[in-house]
Symmetry: C2
Subunit: 330 residues, 2 copies
């Protein structure tokens, strides 16, 4: 049984989507125990008329709420009784096996590192997100909020990302690319030029050189390494361009009768594509290199996404990724 602490108050659709997702997850897996961390009165009121397996559900009171727009470091330091701080502390104290939050990425990154703590030797815990490609998926590390990484951190991201790709994405010997603005070794900015030789010399990864942003959707490398500002831009461009383009396809079809009829006919084909390139079903992304499993769910997570984030904890936990990362750095 995996004990998962859920940040009930975090995210744009909290607490409804979070609580709904939790009950859904409970009904779908026998192997999870969910700890609902949040304002007890709110949670109790919400649960009153619901049916669920109450032997696998626990409510933990966290009276304070971190608001969007609050400075992450300040929020984590000041609001000791917020759902995020209490949940991360439960993880640290061994009372939980995983913590899931759709709250502020910045706060979760700071809290994850300071409260749950990093594994020995890890300099920074990156957020690792799977991107859809024409070949399957690529893992982008780091997409977090902790920017201006140093070259040696990128090497750690590459090692942790390769372990993730091997043990969770089923890629035997994953390739690693350094996100850059050209393919030649000397291309890029100060960071990428310094990181390139370090990645080349690292015998724990299969480094294949620079990866240009243009080739990312084609699956140019299994693991894409970059600092978080770049990773965030990549992730959001991907989302933004895909969303805009697919909605443009739709609206351009509506402009003529011919297009409308054609549109009806292609609807089933298009639907599969939209689901591949949208994040409607995605659960969350882990912070790599922490002492406990911390999963960041989308800020605007729906009930389905919250459910999936909870269910994914099982997969992450059982893969032994944490232990494998620990081994790689000792």
């Amino acid at each position: 049984m995996i004990r998962i602490a859920l940040d009930v108050m975090g995210g744009d659709n909290a607490p409804d989507a979070n609580l709904g997702g939790a009950l859904d997850a409970l009904s779908r897996s026998e192997d999870i125990f969910v700890q609902l961390v949040g304002q007890k009165n709110v949670i109790d009121a919400w649960l009153r008329d619901k049916t669920y397996d109450d032997k696998r559900l626990q409510v933990i009171d966290a009276p304070e709420v971190i608001e969007t727009g609050e400075h992450p470091v300040t929020a984590i330091q000041k609001k000791k009784n917020s759902s995020m701080v209490i949940g991360l502390k439960m993880l640290h104290d061994g009372e939980s096996d995983a913590f899931v939050s759709a709250g502020s990425t910045g706060a979760l990154l700071v809290g994850g590192q300071t409260i749950a703590g990093r594994l020995p030797g890890i300099k920074r815990a990156p957020l690792a997100v799977q991107l859809p490609t024409t070949k399957g998926k690529s893992l982008l590390v780091d997409c977090g909020a902790n920017v201006d990484a140093r070259p040696e951190m990128l090497v750690q991201f590459a090692i942790m990302g390769s372990l993730y790709a091997r043990h969770l994405m089923g890629i035997e010997n994953p390739t690693v690319g350094l996100v850059n603005i050209g393919t030649e070794e000397e291309k890029g900015n100060e960071l990428t030029r310094a990181a390139y030789p370090l990645l080349k010399d690292c015998d724990k990864i299969r480094f294949i050189g620079n990866a240009e942003a243009r080739d990312i959707p084609q699956g140019t490398a299994d693991v894409l390494v970059c600092e978080a500002f770049t990773g965030n831009v990549i992730l959001k461009m991907y989302e933004g361009v895909a969303r805009t383009l697919l909605s443009q396809v739709k609206s351009s079809l509506m402009q003529s009768l011919r297009g409308k009829i054609g549109g009806l006919l292609i609807k089933p084909s298009l639907k599969g594509l939209v689901s591949t390139f949208s994040s409607k079903e995605d659960g969350g992304a882990p912070l790599l290199g922490l002492r406990g499993l911390v999963i960041k769910a989308h800020g605007n997570s729906t009930e389905v996404q919250m459910r999936n984030a909870l269910l994914e904890c099982e997969k992450f936990y059982n893969s032994g990724l944490k232990e494998r990362i620990q081994d790689a750095f000792t």
Copy 2:
């Protein structure tokens, strides 16, 4: 009559696409005089059986060729008789009004600044590229190869980009957004946090705050300011995602008879969309803030793109953008 020096040897499809584009441009505009800069024997042989207005065409011999993969600075310094160096020198000496090249962006940036020279007060000449959006176009500055900009450079990019948007894109009072990974002022990396207050205080622009990558395809700001590594990633993600997605739409339609019939019906609607989101027709992008007009054409420019790059020189030249930038910085 505008005298345009064309780098005949630069680009993946040189010299054919370059020379073909030049003759096509000559036949379409009476107001351009084209100076073909490149290996004279190659050009003469190519021109032998062609018809064109020879009063508006001149061949300038440049026996050396800069190869892809050569280090830009070294190439520019060593190959004094390359088409790029000779073309830029003609611009500097007042023998040409514009220089167009599909050669190495890095070499063109270095050569543009050292040979053609920057306008007084300009710290760096950025590459400004128009991106398609659902509202029309946004201008992305800088997408060049000159990375690790300083905060005060971003302010200059914003001023020059605003003048470009006003006088070439017809946007009366263009909005300026700082590309960032969050909307709040304190978000981002060291560079964006330092640039934000400078942009806010600048009375020559209409700054509207941070622009998230996700919102770029929706036209979140008329002018998007960033340093070149980020700009390059944005540009290439845009290209890569759009290209992949549209080809996926096509191939997903081919998987069923229903899809195939629907696909035929939607073809006309889709075609308009593809041309909006692809760069098949785009000519080139200018380097802003130089003493002469330097246009970077795509490295893989076709004949049509080379033609358009040449024809666009007229528009850029006549807009008086250079003089307006000069005025703004004196």
